[in-house]
Subunit: 491 residues, 2 copies
């Protein structure tokens, strides 16, 4: 292939890794496990951020910022949280370097050892709840609805660009409520906000559900999640929202005076999505020619490529291109006119296909004569000649068509790869040969869940919230099951 | 005072510290030197970010994201940079904690020591230029115009909210150019972008200039800066832009093929502003009643406070308020209608004065009868009754008037506190008793600069770019001086 991109059929994992780098989304840095998000990748992330931020604000949340560092002792305050998060992490032990006495460079100054080590935040519940103690006195201070956009660090041994990196960017919402009911409603609301964003903007269909106890966030009483299915049949957890009960309020002593005058612990939620969403976006829609982006998140929705052999032709073509660019921009469409003379049209075609620009317009001297342009859509790779006067209308339509088409293709793929099974034999066979979501009965015990995981590498992605509920018998133990749960191998 | 705020006259420094906390802008956290930026403070920072980000993009820059951690050895590659930045910093030495064997909590796992320590970035030149080596091969790849919004850490011993904190938020631009001239033009352009932002949005007048050699950024050939004057006569450096020559390109071996086919090192700039700007904003405009915000950056530009004694009155007042709110919002004005029944009007008046909301509208039953409202402006603390039908027009006018008035007051203050001196005696006297900007002749040597600093605590804030140029003799040594430079004590 012109792009030298490994195909999905050859090696899906390699295809992904190559695509992320070649489409200028991200690359590995000189720092183990940490990525560089390149300008084109970051522009997509910024679009995601902008929409999510708007949705958070529309649901009453405010942004704030809490410290990067968390004193080690904070983690010990919530018992289950410490095991989940405080183990594989970046530990700051010193606050100074000095010149080595032998002149060999700079070394850690042993005199600058911290009294208490600081952990680079893997998530911010502890530092935030330590702060909320000061902010919350009365029911008048509730609900407290706060979000933070931040970087976090979890020391991962095996990393992959966007999907699993030591440092990643995310948002973390942390809310405090007067009642259990309100906190649960908040956690559910945010799961729905995430689902709406991922489906409507990323064009990625998701299953909503709750996690089993063993897959829950460390410190949560309930974890709500949205799960997407990638083209290779593996699941990807796209976002989680946790009902934390009063665990953190108790650990950090956050009480409030109720309307009735008594003192009660506050109820909490937390919820987050991360740059991992970039991985979901890339893996859901892209093909062997490169990235495919939904118009709503594409930094450039349309690219115009001029075709010419001399300056006269260039001028004639440019005139049409610039007019078209202006008309499209008036309609709020993001257009790039690539008039660089350092690259040939064929190179540009390849480049924008690789980068997933939804619509490409090519204009040559013959088009100028005929009053047409060539319009190509990235998702279907189809092309047609269109009269100049129809281009704006057609492009506007394409923005919606492509967005819908991507979603529909993804949901069709999920339908084709969602199967119900009755027996464990059948389950193992499907997980091994086909992958996808497998709906099966499970007896509700961590032991059975663990056994299935060990034997098949499939985990329970969620206990679905929507869909039919029918009881049955666990495929492994035969014990009663209230409803089927969703299994898959996962990223 | 109702607000229990120390006055500026009593203790300027205490006034600032109290104001930052009481106006809900920021507070100290449980982590030494790290602040929590509270939602109201963060909302102002977000407005600043949005405008700056727009200005950066309009001048051709793209955002990207680079790792939080920098391997220790990277700092040793640029000789002057290591002394400036790699010394007082947060050092990550381990990547795991474990349960203490005596059950006393969690401790650092000695088996998880990093081979090479990681520094939490104090600034990102080194990691970014290590990356640029891979991105730049040819003149076609230039200029590379990249910005990053990020958190950075410098281990400060004496910290103050926004002004000097161990962790702070900032943006750092890092650009690469084919020629020296282009790089210098870029560094100057960004100084001008900063000046435009700080003057037009923050309503804070600034002096533009260059730093002396000893005040330059570690690794720069020239540092451009903008300097503002606070109400207490101390200067505050509001932004810097550095021409880095080929220092980082040489340190990280970043060469490019020129148009002519030769290989040359790339020319660099870097430039940044930080949450320190919040300190400048607060200290320039605020008064003994609290914060004063310029309308362009105020999260709420107008607050409407209803005054009522019973439900009937509340309904009548609310109707007018909601109509007004809608009309104002149609004009793009940010309005809050504070209809909480948990707080009295007097409390609200105090609160919004403390929080610097530019315009307050109060509406009571009598106003409803008369068809008027009470309009109060925060900057002058003046009030008047205005017919409802004139409110929108008047508020629109006020948005501009208040913005201008704040700028004019600040520039008048700077004029009143900028003095030229001829002798060192006079200089010492003014620095000691009056402060402000002092223009004086200096012989251009670091020795004289150092002596003045040691004897008076005043530093050269900048060698001004604008204003008259007249030669003279150094006030200390009598040696020739090409032009006066600007001295002040500084934050």
């Amino acid at each position: 292939m012109a792009k030298n991109l490994t195909t999905r059929g050859e090696d899906y994992s390699k295809w992904y890794n190559e695509l992320v780098v070649k489409a200028d989304l991200a690359e590995n840095s000189g720092v183990r496990g940490c990525m560089v998000i390149k300008p084109y990748g970051f522009a997509i992330w910024e679009k995601m951020q902008a929409e999510l931020d708007r949705m958070f604000k529309e649901t009453g949340h405010q942004n704030a910022y809490f410290p990067l560092f968390i004193p080690k002792s904070y983690f010990s305050k919530e018992a289950s949280h410490v095991d989940g998060f405080a183990k594989e992490c970046a530990v700051v032990t010193h606050y100074r370097l000095k010149n080595a006495e032998d002149g060999s460079g700079i070394v850690v100054d042993p005199d600058a050892k911290l009294e208490e080590e600081l952990i680079v935040r893997p998530t911010s519940e502890t530092i935030i709840w330590d702060t909320y103690r000061k902010w919350i006195q009365s029911y008048r201070d509730l609900p407290l609805l706060i979000n933070q956009w931040a970087n976090v660090v979890r020391w991962e041994m095996r990393t992959r660009l966007f999907l699993r990196t030591a440092e990643f960017l995310w948002q973390e919402g942390h809310t405090a409520h007067a009642t259990e009911r309100e906190a649960i409603a908040e956690a559910e609301q945010m799961m729905n906000v995430y689902a709406e964003f991922v489906e409507n903007y990323m064009a990625v269909p998701v299953l909503k559900g709750t996690k089993t106890e063993s897959e829950r966030f460390a410190g949560a009483l309930e974890t709500y999640c949205i799960e997407a299915l990638m083209q290779d049949g593996k699941a990807l957890q796209a976002g989680t929202s946790h009902f934390l009960g009063q665990n953190f309020a108790k650990a950090f002593d956050v009480k409030f005076a109720t309307k009735e005058g008594s003192q009660d612990y506050v109820w909490a939620t937390s919820w987050g999505v991360s740059t991992r969403l970039m991985g979901a976006l890339i893996m859901t829609h892209s093909d062997d020619n490169g990235l495919v982006l939904p118009p709503k998140l594409a930094p450039d929705q349309v690219v115009i490529v001029p075709i010419y052999k001399n300056e006269e032709q260039f001028n004639a073509v440019s005139e049409v291109a610039v007019d078209l660019m202006k008309s499209l921009r008036k309609e709020g469409i993001r257009v790039k006119f690539d008039n660089r003379d350092t690259h040939k049209p064929g190179w540009k075609f390849n480049e924008y296909e690789l980068k997933g620009v939804p619509v490409r317009i090519a204009i040559g001297p013959k088009d100028v004569e005929k009053g047409t342009v060539e319009l190509a859509r990235r998702d279907t790779l189809s092309k047609e000649f269109v009269p100049v006067e129809n281009v704006v209308g057609q492009v506007k339509g394409l923005m919606e068509d492509i967005q819908k088409n991507l979603y529909n293709k993804a949901i069709q793929h999920r339908r084709d790869n969602t199967r119900s099974v009755e027996t464990y034999e059948e389950f193992k066979e499907i997980i091994k040969t086909k992958g996808g979501f497998v709906l099966a009965h499970w007896d509700g015990t961590p032991e059975t869940e663990e056994r299935i995981k060990n034997e098949t590498k499939a985990t329970i992605r969620c206990i679905p919230i929507e869909g039919e509920i029918a009881s049955g018998n666990c495929m492994v133990t035969g014990n009663p099951s209230k409803r089927r749960v969703v299994f898959a191998k996962a990223y």
